[in-house]
């Protein structure tokens, strides 16, 4: 702390203004009644009774609605009038000039205000410092900002506006010395106390907290500001930023509200454009940038957005030109490069992001944001040590940044990991789990490589690094820098990060299909030069999961079809929004399924070969409309319409079977309450309508729970007939399997279970049960194959692994035995000698004598008298001698 606390607290008593001291128009301004405030102040001006404070208020009221021209006109008129108080309008006039890019005039006004000793000269001084900062004169800016420390310490900051100026100056100083952010908080806090009715200090403080990643504190302050003035566009913009930070889909609505209130609010236009660009909507993002630049052609954030659009559109000349202009305007600003790098990363152009962010660090070596963007993206392309160094530097300048801190903490744990190299991959596994997971991960990864590279005619540069995290929080930090990510895997191109098999706290998930999904992303990114839209690559990955193994990937379920029936799904032309700004909790998941259906539709309508051609079109810079037009000769409207017909046709049966639920599930239009159905009510529905899927399913499962199997069976059979593909946790196939098993009809139970597991990538217990039934009925190979599907869900299953080893051995599937035995050894059994020996025996039978030798030596190293292992060692020596 550079300030004396006594001075700070001493100030508080003398600056607080009673509410009653405020004028009527000022009260109107502070509560968002801008038109009323303008009318009242203009009346005073017309009557010649307005003083400088009134005119300052009038300019503020005009500016809040974006009528900067009126603000400037009023300010200029007052100053030209020669009024005694004219100097009091200079700062406000300068602000209006500045907002529209008339910086020379703005600076002149600020300087006049300072020289003339206007009561708000401290605010004018702040603007002069900001102007110096934004033209790249960091030394002058720093000197000016630093002066505010003395101002505060000498007790010269008396009003809320003065204290806000001090707080804002400290915010800038904090870029070089993060401790000063604390002082900024103090100044804003005092400003709030000084004028509790003014929303501005609360908003400044809220924005500072948001900039320092404290959304909770920020939310309270921004909410308070909005309570005081619900019409203030800047407060709605702050709320939009906060909602975006929280990952809420409401952030777009909030910024659009801001723009309704002030359509010319440049930061809001830029924020909206940035969000649009993140969803791949380059045209609307460009329009937002254009609107912002129409207000202020010199706004660097707006120019940066424009540059990002130009970069992502492949308009290299325009991008270079914008970049050069901004550099001329502020040679020390890395904002444009950071913006473009972050947008490149959003669009999975990680290598490009590294290159651009590197340039940013060269322009502004003090920019933590540039170092942070560089570091995060270096890690994404596998440059681990370089990434760590960049993040260390970023964190030194921005120690509040939880992303940097979390990521650096995670990197510290990398000493506990080891690399397992396979033909095309580098598996980065926690050392104590590598023995268990590597055999199965390698199997899935290499199979995906073989199939997908052949299918798409493209092989990415090797090796692909697959980082496998045993804690979901670690995976999440590795991916986005924060815990709590909903995804299970992420592909950065040359690096994939996934949750490890059986990670705790996530419920049941299939790591095998997840890994396949991510490898498919790598292929799609490679074919499209990383320019494939998110919806297309996510859909393609799910589509490829469906083709990899029976049941893999998310499938159409009643929830999806109900969303379809309710009209909640977006058309193909807007499907990307479902990934970036989902409208309801299940929307993101539904978007994945829907996108995969689009690929199935494309394959049916045009043939599979169109999919790689679309990827290549994206790679050449086409957006959705251009790519489909080029490759299919259909516009998006036709795609939308035909896809809708495809869904209705393909799922006609289940859709009709769910239609009765539509009326029941619809909330009461007034209360929003849903009708809870009783068992009797459901049974009546099922009796009345043999095509009511939900009624049959729920009645059948309820009867099953009560052990009334004979009564449950017809309901479940009907449900299965209505939606045979449904394999959720309450799938009728599961109930039917139980009924049939309890009757001793094992063959039928097996059929039900097979139907179930072939349409889902979950149901671990059902798979174990199926394997048991298959073995009992003399089908060891099928039982072993079923256990293999279990292991793509979880591997911490020593009994199942031992069963698999035994069953594979019975059917002489020695590669399967080796895999299971390797995993069993990886479980660190108490009897390691026995486990090593069994593995050696499997290797020997499989014909891998070298691996067998190493394993049997491992057994005898622990247990040199182990007779069976001794014999195997002698046999191996003899066989090697033979060869």
């Amino acid at each position: 702390m550079r300030w004396r606390s006594a001075a700070a607290f001493a100030l508080l008593a003398c600056v607080a203004l009673p509410v009653s001291a405020q004028s009527e128009p000022r009260t109107a301004l502070l509560s968002g009644r801008y038109a009323e405030a303008v009318d009242l102040w203009e009346g005073l001006v017309r009557r010649g009774t307005a003083d400088g404070d009134d005119v300052r208020g009038l300019l503020a009221a005009h500016s809040r609605t974006g009528d900067y021209a009126a603000a400037i006109a009023a300010g200029e008129a007052f100053i030209e009038s020669g009024h005694d108080d004219a100097i009091e309008a200079l700062t406000a006039l300068g602000e209006a000039y500045y907002v529209v890019g008339r910086r020379t005039e703005a600076v002149a006004a600020f300087e006049r205000a300072v020289v003339a000793g206007a009561t708000d000269s401290l605010t004018a001084r702040l603007h002069l410092a900001i102007a110096a900062f934004e033209r790249g004169d960091r030394a002058e800016a720093h000197q000016r900002f630093d002066g505010f420390i003395d101002v505060y310490n000498q007790g010269q900051a008396r009003t809320a506006a003065d204290l806000v100026a001090v707080g804002r100056a400290c915010t800038y100083l904090g870029l070089a010395d993060p401790q000063l952010f604390h002082d900024a908080v103090r100044a804003f806090d005092e400003a709030i106390t000084a004028d509790p009715n003014d929303p501005a200090p609360r908003l400044w403080l809220g924005e500072l907290f948001l900039d320092k990643y404290d959304s909770t504190e920020a939310g309270g302050l921004i909410g308070d500001a909005l309570t005081l003035d619900g019409q203030w566009a800047r407060a709605h913009l702050a709320e939009s930023r906060r909602l975006q930070f929280e990952g809420s889909g409401d952030s777009m609505a909030a910024v659009e509200r801001a723009l309704e209130l002030n359509p010319r609010l440049v930061p809001a236009l830029v924020h909206r454009g940035t969000m649009l660009l993140s969803t791949g909507n380059r045209a609307e993002a460009a329009e937002a940038a254009r609107q912002a630049l129409a207000v202020n052609a010199r706004d660097i954030a707006a120019r940066s957005l424009s540059a990002a659009v130009q970069y992502l559109s492949g308009d290299d000349d325009a991008y270079a030109s914008t970049r050069a202009e901004v550099q001329l305007q502020d040679p020390s600003s890395a904002l444009l490069l950071v913006t473009v790098a972050e947008q490149a990363a959003q669009n999975r152009l990680y290598a490009e992001a590294v290159e651009i962010a590197t340039a940013g660090t060269e322009i502004d070596p003090g920019s933590s944001q540039a170092w942070g963007t560089l570091g995060m993206n270096q890690l994404r392309i596998g440059e681990i040590e370089e990434g760590r160094a960049s993040l260390e530097r970023a964190f030194a300048g921005d120690p509040f940044n939880v992303w940097y801190k979390n990521t650096l903490d995670l990197l510290d744990t990398f000493v506990d990991y080891r690399v397992v190299e396979t033909d095309n991959f580098e598996l980065f596994l926690r050392a104590d789990r590598a023995g268990l997971t590597a055999p199965y991960l390698e199997e899935v990864a290499e199979q995906a490589w073989t199939e997908l590279t052949t299918k798409y005619g493209y092989a990415p540069p090797e090796p692909i690094r697959i980082e496998v995290f045993e804690r979901h929080a670690d995976f999440s930090v590795r991916t986005v820098g924060l815990a709590g990510l909903g995804a299970l895997g992420v592909a950065f191109g040359p690096v994939i990060a996934v949750d490890a098999p059986g990670v705790a706290g996530l419920g049941e998930f299939n790591w095998g299909s997840t890994l396949w999904h991510e490898i498919a992303h790598v292929i799609a990114m490679g074919v499209s030069s990383s320019r494939v839209p998110r919806w297309f690559t996510e859909g393609l990955s799910v589509y490829e999961e469906h083709r990899a193994r029976p049941g893999w990937g998310e499938h159409v379920d009643p929830s999806f079809l109900m969303a379809y029936l309710r009209g909640n799904l977006l058309p193909v032309s807007r499907i990307n929004e479902g990934f970036f700004r989902p409208r309801y909790p299940a929307h993101l998941g539904h978007s994945y399924v829907q996108a995969s259906l689009v690929h199935e539709f494309i394959e049916e309508e045009f043939g599979f070969e169109v999919i790689p051609r679309l990827l290549r079109a994206y790679g050449e810079g086409a957006d959705d409309a251009e790519a489909f037009e080029q490759v299919t000769e259909w516009d998006l409207a036709r795609i939308d319409e035909t896809f809708d017909e495809y869904v209705r046709r393909r799922f006609a049966g289940p859709i009709e079977a769910l239609r009765p639920q539509l009326a029941v599930a619809a909330p009461d239009p007034e209360s929003g309450a849903r009708t809870e159905m009783t068992f009797d009510g459901l049974q009546e529905r099922a009796t009345a309508d043999p095509n009511d899927l939900v009624a049959h399913l729920q009645v059948g499962n309820s009867l099953l729970v009560e052990g009334r199997l004979d009564e449950a069976e017809p309901y479940l059979e009907r449900a299965a007939a209505l939606f045979p593909e449904y394999a959720g946790t309450d799938s009728p196939h599961l109930g039917l399997a139980r009924i049939r098993s309890e009757r001793g009809a094992e063959r039928l139970a097996i059929e039900s279970l097979q139907t179930l597991v072939n349409q889902s990538d979950k149901h671990l217990d059902a798979r174990l049960w199926l394997a048991e039934l298959l073995e009992q009925t003399g089908r060891p190979a099928d039982a072993a194959a079923t256990l293999e599907t279990v292991f793509t869900i979880d591997l911490d299953l020593p009994d199942a692994l031992a069963d698999a080893a035994r069953l594979h051995e019975e059917t002489a599937n020695w590669s399967g035995v080796v895999r299971a035995r390797r995993a069993l050894l990886g479980l660190n059994p108490t009897d390691r000698a026995e486990a090593q020996y069994e593995l050696a025996r499997a290797y020997s039978e499989h014909g891998d004598l070298s691996a067998a030798r190493r394993a049997v030596l491992g057994a005898l190293e622990i247990a040199p008298s182990f007779e069976a292992a001794q014999q195997l060692l002698l046999d191996l020596r003899a066989r090697r001698g033979d060869t």
Binding site: T830, L860, S865, L873, R877
Partner: protein, 334 residues
């Protein structure tokens, strides 16, 4: 039987004082508190005694089984109160050979309220000091002392050179009933703890097996582990947990003595009879020398190139395998 004989022959060839000519086992079951716990503790005692007498060849006359209610329990020799304990150690001190091995195993509840902790027996509880007094009666005899009760860590102060001390917990705050004792008994009873496949479960193997199974139990249950068994057999008052890794400087090498001791001590070794077959005796001697070279090689693993290590290991293990084959063949001769 044949393999046991082979093993015993090898043990004979190792000039270690750990293998005495006579083995005694003292099992003390403290206060159970309720019928269920009495049954658990007595069950463990009886299982351990059966394994020791049948598989490890301890003479039943040298087994002392002290129970809370000796009249209710088959095989119990006296009550597990202070008098019973004193009498047991008096007898061993008086009757056991001077180079005998004595194993003392406690099943029951412990208390860690007051350092150094106590073991609950009928009448006043007893602490490490009581057992120090009793163990003093055994003179220089080798001792394996195992306290499987809760909060038993205070008994680690009994560690001395030539004495293996094992406790089920690592400190006095570990007051939940430990699972270690059950697994420790399983190690001997089920034979699954014969980790080096030499047909004998050493005290070290039993400790490692039980510790690992405790780890596995709590991991599978998703619970924090409330017990951490400890072993001290080098008398340095620095006990070790599984996996008994020595310090980087080689100090605190707990586990060496325990690896050479079984509950049965010389009872198993007594089955060896190579004196009548000079060739068998020669083979056993050669095999022991090979074992020594193997120990040296394994100790230098970190200093060798991996391929070179495994090449040397293979040659040595082939030599041992061939020697063991010859020994087995020799033993099977009429």
């Amino acid at each position: 039987m044949m393999r046991a004989a082979l093993l015993a022959g090898l043990i004979l060839s190792v000039p270690s004082p750990a293998y005495a000519t006579e083995a005694w086992l003292v099992v003390i079951c403290g206060v159970g508190g309720d019928a269920e716990h009495r049954a658990t503790f007595d069950g463990r005692a009886q299982t351990l005694i059966a394994a020791a007498t049948q598989d490890q060849h301890i003479d039943t006359s040298r087994v002392i089984y002290l129970a809370e209610r000796p009249t209710d329990v088959e095989g119990a020799t006296a009550r597990s109160d202070a008098a019973g304990i004193t009498a047991a150690f008096d007898r061993i001190g008086r009757d056991a050979a001077s180079d005998a091995t004595v194993a003392v195993v406690l099943f029951g509840h412990g208390s860690g309220q007051e350092p150094p902790g106590t073991f609950n027996i009928p009448g006043p509880d007893v602490g490490p000091a009581t057992f120090e007094t009793e163990l003093a009666k055994l003179g220089e005899r080798r001792v394996v002392f195992v306290n499987t009760s809760s909060a038993s860590a205070g008994f680690l102060t009994l560690a001395r050179p030539g004495r293996v001390v094992i406790t089920a917990t690592g400190n006095l705050r570990e007051r939940e009933e430990p699972r270690f004792g059950g697994y420790f008994v399983d190690a001997f009873a089920e034979g699954s703890a014969d980790l080096d496949k030499d047909s004998v479960v050493s005290v070290r193997e039993a400790f490692v097996y039980a510790s690992q199974e405790v780890d596995r139990f709590y991991e599978n249950e998703g619970r924090l582990q409330p017990e951490h068994a400890m072993l001290d057999d080098d008398g340095d008052a620095e006990p070790s947990r599984w996996p008994l890794d020595p310090a980087d400087d080689g100090s605190n090498a707990d586990g060496l003595l325990a690896s050479r001791m079984t509950l049965g001590g010389l009872a198993a070794a007594a089955a060896v009879d190579s004196a009548g077959d000079p060739e068998l005796a020669r083979l056993i001697t050669v095999r022991a020398a090979a074992q020594d070279r193997l120990d040296v090689l394994r100790g230098s693993k970190d200093d060798l190139d991996e391929d070179a290590y495994f090449d040397q290991l293979e040659e040595l293990l082939l030599e041992i395998a061939e020697l063991d084959q010859q020994i087995r063949a020799r033993e099977s001769l009429p």
